[in-house]
Protein backbone atom coordinates (compact mmCIF):
# COMPACT_ATOMS: atom_id res chain seq x y z
CA UNK A 1 0.00 0.00 0.00
CA UNK A 2 1.74 3.15 -1.17
CA UNK A 3 0.17 6.14 0.54
CA UNK A 4 -0.45 9.40 -1.29
CA UNK A 5 -0.21 12.77 0.39
CA UNK A 6 -1.47 12.79 3.94
CA UNK A 7 -4.08 15.05 5.45
CA UNK A 8 -3.45 15.78 9.12
CA UNK A 9 -6.16 17.06 11.41
CA UNK A 10 -5.22 18.05 14.95
CA UNK A 11 -7.84 16.79 17.41
CA UNK A 12 -8.15 19.28 20.25
CA UNK A 13 -11.86 19.77 20.68
CA UNK A 14 -15.19 18.28 19.67
CA UNK A 15 -15.38 20.49 16.57
CA UNK A 16 -12.17 18.85 15.30
CA UNK A 17 -13.97 15.50 15.43
CA UNK A 18 -16.54 16.90 12.99
CA UNK A 19 -13.77 18.35 10.77
CA UNK A 20 -11.94 14.98 10.66
CA UNK A 21 -14.98 13.04 9.49
CA UNK A 22 -15.93 15.71 6.94
CA UNK A 23 -12.42 15.73 5.44
CA UNK A 24 -12.47 11.93 5.28
CA UNK A 25 -15.81 12.00 3.49
CA UNK A 26 -14.38 14.40 0.88
CA UNK A 27 -11.38 12.15 0.29
CA UNK A 28 -13.65 9.10 0.11
CA UNK A 29 -15.86 10.83 -2.45
CA UNK A 30 -12.75 11.62 -4.54
CA UNK A 31 -11.91 7.92 -4.85
CA UNK A 32 -15.57 7.10 -5.43
CA UNK A 33 -16.38 5.18 -2.30
CA UNK A 34 -20.13 4.60 -2.30
CA UNK A 35 -22.19 7.03 -0.32
CA UNK A 36 -23.01 4.28 2.20
CA UNK A 37 -19.32 3.45 2.66
CA UNK A 38 -18.55 7.15 3.14
CA UNK A 39 -21.11 7.23 5.93
CA UNK A 40 -19.71 4.08 7.58
CA UNK A 41 -16.19 5.53 7.41
CA UNK A 42 -17.26 8.93 8.76
CA UNK A 43 -19.08 7.25 11.66
CA UNK A 44 -16.04 5.09 12.50
CA UNK A 45 -13.82 8.19 12.49
CA UNK A 46 -16.23 9.96 14.79
CA UNK A 47 -15.89 7.11 17.30
CA UNK A 48 -12.09 6.88 17.27
CA UNK A 49 -11.59 10.68 17.22
CA UNK A 50 -13.96 11.07 20.15
CA UNK A 51 -11.87 8.58 22.10
CA UNK A 52 -8.99 11.06 21.69
CA UNK A 53 -10.96 13.99 23.14
CA UNK A 54 -12.47 11.81 25.88
CA UNK A 55 -9.38 9.97 27.10
CA UNK A 56 -6.30 11.76 25.81
CA UNK A 57 -7.45 15.39 25.47
CA UNK A 58 -5.50 15.87 22.24
CA UNK A 59 -4.04 13.95 19.37
CA UNK A 60 -4.36 13.80 15.61
CA UNK A 61 -6.12 12.04 12.76
CA UNK A 62 -4.10 11.35 9.61
CA UNK A 63 -5.96 10.54 6.41
CA UNK A 64 -4.48 9.10 3.25
CA UNK A 65 -5.52 7.33 0.08
CA UNK A 66 -3.98 3.85 -0.17
CA UNK A 67 -3.81 1.30 -2.99
CA UNK A 68 -3.48 -2.47 -2.81
CA UNK A 69 -1.62 -4.64 -5.32
CA UNK A 70 -4.73 -5.04 -7.42
CA UNK A 71 -5.01 -1.27 -7.83
CA UNK A 72 -8.02 -0.99 -5.52
CA UNK A 73 -8.16 2.29 -3.63
CA UNK A 74 -9.12 2.93 -0.06
CA UNK A 75 -8.94 5.48 2.72
CA UNK A 76 -6.58 4.88 5.61
CA UNK A 77 -7.23 6.64 8.89
CA UNK A 78 -4.65 6.80 11.65
CA UNK A 79 -5.97 8.22 14.93
CA UNK A 80 -3.10 8.83 17.31
CA UNK A 81 -2.71 10.30 20.76
CA UNK A 82 -0.16 10.52 23.56
CA UNK A 83 -2.78 9.87 26.21
CA UNK A 84 -3.01 7.34 29.02
CA UNK A 85 -3.20 4.35 26.67
CA UNK A 86 -5.41 1.29 27.03
CA UNK A 87 -4.39 -1.23 29.67
CA UNK A 88 -6.50 -4.09 28.30
CA UNK A 89 -7.10 -3.85 24.56
CA UNK A 90 -9.05 -7.13 24.41
CA UNK A 91 -11.52 -5.74 26.88
CA UNK A 92 -11.72 -2.35 25.15
CA UNK A 93 -12.77 -4.18 21.99
CA UNK A 94 -15.65 -5.96 23.71
CA UNK A 95 -19.14 -4.59 23.24
CA UNK A 96 -20.40 -2.86 26.33
CA UNK A 97 -17.09 -2.33 28.10
CA UNK A 98 -16.29 1.28 28.93
CA UNK A 99 -14.00 3.13 31.27
CA UNK A 100 -15.21 6.53 30.15
CA UNK A 101 -18.92 6.58 30.98
CA UNK A 102 -20.07 5.84 27.43
CA UNK A 103 -21.92 2.89 25.98
CA UNK A 104 -18.80 0.88 25.27
CA UNK A 105 -19.59 0.54 21.59
CA UNK A 106 -17.06 3.05 20.23
CA UNK A 107 -14.11 0.77 19.42
CA UNK A 108 -15.96 -2.51 18.71
CA UNK A 109 -18.54 -0.54 16.72
CA UNK A 110 -15.92 1.32 14.68
CA UNK A 111 -14.27 -2.02 13.93
CA UNK A 112 -17.51 -3.33 12.40
CA UNK A 113 -17.81 -0.26 10.15
CA UNK A 114 -14.48 -0.62 8.34
CA UNK A 115 -12.55 -3.32 6.44
CA UNK A 116 -9.32 -3.23 8.41
CA UNK A 117 -8.83 -2.29 12.03
CA UNK A 118 -5.67 -2.26 14.12
CA UNK A 119 -5.01 -0.88 17.53
CA UNK A 120 -1.71 -0.39 19.33
CA UNK A 121 -1.49 1.05 22.77
CA UNK A 122 1.10 1.45 25.48
CA UNK A 123 -0.09 2.46 28.93
CA UNK A 124 0.92 6.05 29.78
CA UNK A 125 2.37 6.54 26.28
CA UNK A 126 -0.58 6.62 23.96
CA UNK A 127 -2.85 4.85 21.53
CA UNK A 128 -2.85 4.51 17.74
CA UNK A 129 -5.87 3.16 15.92
CA UNK A 130 -5.56 2.45 12.19
CA UNK A 131 -8.62 1.92 9.99
CA UNK A 132 -8.92 1.18 6.28
CA UNK A 133 -12.07 1.32 4.17
CA UNK A 134 -11.62 -0.09 0.68
CA UNK A 135 -13.65 0.91 -2.34
CA UNK A 136 -15.71 -2.03 -3.56
CA UNK A 137 -14.94 -1.68 -7.27
CA UNK A 138 -11.70 -1.36 -9.19
Amino acid sequence: MAPDAETRIAIDSDSDVVTARQRARELAADIELTSTDQTLLATAISEVARNITTYAVRGEVILSVVRDNGGREGIRVVARDDGPGIADIERALQDGYTSGGGLGIGLPGARRLVDEFEIESTPSQGTTVTLVKWSRSL
Binding site: T36, S46, R50, G102, G109, R112, L113
Partner: protein
Protein backbone atom coordinates in the same frame (compact mmCIF):
# COMPACT_ATOMS: atom_id res chain seq x y z
CA UNK B 1 -24.31 25.80 16.07
CA UNK B 2 -27.48 26.06 18.15
CA UNK B 3 -30.47 24.05 17.00
CA UNK B 4 -33.59 26.21 16.52
CA UNK B 5 -36.62 24.96 18.45
CA UNK B 6 -40.03 26.06 17.19
CA UNK B 7 -43.26 25.84 19.15
CA UNK B 8 -46.21 24.52 17.19
CA UNK B 9 -49.31 24.23 19.35
CA UNK B 10 -48.70 21.64 22.07
CA UNK B 11 -45.55 20.40 20.31
CA UNK B 12 -41.94 21.51 19.90
CA UNK B 13 -39.99 20.99 16.72
CA UNK B 14 -36.18 20.93 16.94
CA UNK B 15 -34.77 21.12 13.46
CA UNK B 16 -31.11 20.21 13.25
CA UNK B 17 -29.53 22.30 10.47
CA UNK B 18 -25.96 21.02 10.19
CA UNK B 19 -23.42 18.63 11.72
CA UNK B 20 -23.46 18.81 15.51
CA UNK B 21 -20.49 18.87 17.85
CA UNK B 22 -20.89 17.09 21.19
CA UNK B 23 -21.30 20.49 22.83
CA UNK B 24 -24.16 21.33 20.43
CA UNK B 25 -25.87 18.04 21.29
CA UNK B 26 -25.72 18.70 25.02
CA UNK B 27 -27.01 22.23 24.43
CA UNK B 28 -29.93 20.79 22.44
CA UNK B 29 -30.77 18.46 25.31
CA UNK B 30 -30.81 21.33 27.81
CA UNK B 31 -32.79 23.61 25.47
CA UNK B 32 -35.42 20.94 24.80
CA UNK B 33 -35.85 20.24 28.50
CA UNK B 34 -36.24 23.90 29.43
CA UNK B 35 -38.70 24.59 26.59
CA UNK B 36 -40.78 21.51 27.35
CA UNK B 37 -41.13 22.85 30.87
CA UNK B 38 -41.81 26.44 29.80
CA UNK B 39 -44.45 25.57 27.20
CA UNK B 40 -45.87 22.50 28.94
CA UNK B 41 -45.35 20.68 25.65
CA UNK B 42 -46.96 17.30 25.00
CA UNK B 43 -44.64 16.19 22.27
CA UNK B 44 -41.27 16.93 20.69
CA UNK B 45 -40.02 16.23 17.23
CA UNK B 46 -36.29 16.17 16.60
CA UNK B 47 -35.62 16.39 12.87
CA UNK B 48 -32.24 14.80 12.04
CA UNK B 49 -32.61 14.91 8.23
CA UNK B 50 -29.50 17.13 7.98
CA UNK B 51 -27.27 14.73 9.94
CA UNK B 52 -24.92 12.66 7.77
CA UNK B 53 -23.49 10.86 10.80
CA UNK B 54 -25.20 9.66 13.98
CA UNK B 55 -22.45 8.17 16.07
CA UNK B 56 -22.79 6.61 19.51
CA UNK B 57 -22.67 9.95 21.31
CA UNK B 58 -25.42 11.60 19.24
CA UNK B 59 -27.58 8.45 19.34
CA UNK B 60 -27.18 8.09 23.08
CA UNK B 61 -27.96 11.78 23.62
CA UNK B 62 -31.13 11.67 21.48
CA UNK B 63 -32.24 8.60 23.36
CA UNK B 64 -31.57 10.48 26.58
CA UNK B 65 -33.74 13.38 25.39
CA UNK B 66 -36.56 10.93 24.59
CA UNK B 67 -36.35 9.37 28.04
CA UNK B 68 -36.08 12.65 29.94
CA UNK B 69 -39.03 14.21 28.14
CA UNK B 70 -41.09 11.06 28.72
CA UNK B 71 -40.52 11.52 32.45
CA UNK B 72 -42.01 15.00 32.01
CA UNK B 73 -45.06 13.50 30.27
CA UNK B 74 -44.03 14.49 26.76
CA UNK B 75 -43.33 12.19 23.87
CA UNK B 76 -40.30 12.57 21.60
CA UNK B 77 -40.23 11.38 17.99
CA UNK B 78 -36.97 11.36 16.03
CA UNK B 79 -37.66 11.98 12.34
CA UNK B 80 -35.60 11.95 9.16
CA UNK B 81 -32.88 9.38 9.91
CA UNK B 82 -31.24 8.94 6.51
CA UNK B 83 -31.05 5.38 5.09
CA UNK B 84 -27.25 5.29 5.17
CA UNK B 85 -27.20 6.68 8.68
CA UNK B 86 -29.66 3.98 9.76
CA UNK B 87 -27.37 1.36 8.24
CA UNK B 88 -24.34 2.74 10.08
CA UNK B 89 -26.24 2.89 13.39
CA UNK B 90 -27.17 -0.79 13.11
CA UNK B 91 -23.59 -1.79 12.22
CA UNK B 92 -22.30 0.29 15.09
CA UNK B 93 -24.60 -1.59 17.46
CA UNK B 94 -26.80 1.28 18.60
CA UNK B 95 -29.93 0.22 20.43
CA UNK B 96 -32.69 2.64 19.46
CA UNK B 97 -35.59 0.27 20.12
CA UNK B 98 -37.22 2.29 22.85
CA UNK B 99 -37.13 5.52 20.83
CA UNK B 100 -40.05 6.50 18.61
CA UNK B 101 -39.10 7.34 15.04
CA UNK B 102 -40.94 8.46 11.92
CA UNK B 103 -40.03 8.97 8.30
CA UNK B 104 -40.29 12.75 8.23
CA UNK B 105 -41.71 15.79 9.97
CA UNK B 106 -45.21 15.25 8.61
CA UNK B 107 -45.35 11.62 9.74
CA UNK B 108 -43.89 12.59 13.09
CA UNK B 109 -46.58 15.20 13.70
CA UNK B 110 -49.26 12.72 12.64
CA UNK B 111 -47.85 10.22 15.12
CA UNK B 112 -47.93 12.73 17.97
CA UNK B 113 -51.46 13.82 17.10
CA UNK B 114 -52.88 10.30 17.07
CA UNK B 115 -51.27 9.64 20.42
CA UNK B 116 -52.82 12.60 22.20
CA UNK B 117 -54.74 11.57 25.27
CA UNK B 118 -58.52 11.40 24.79
CA UNK B 119 -59.95 14.76 25.74
CA UNK B 120 -56.85 16.73 24.74
CA UNK B 121 -58.46 17.83 21.53
CA UNK B 122 -61.25 19.76 23.21
CA UNK B 123 -64.41 17.63 23.02
Amino acid sequence: MAVPILKQGPFLIASIQAALTDTDVLQLRDDVMSQVTRHRSRGIIVDVTALDVMDSFVSRSLRGIAMMTRLRGAKTVIVGIQPEVAFAMVQLGMNFEDVQTALDLEEGLALLQTQKEPGDGGS
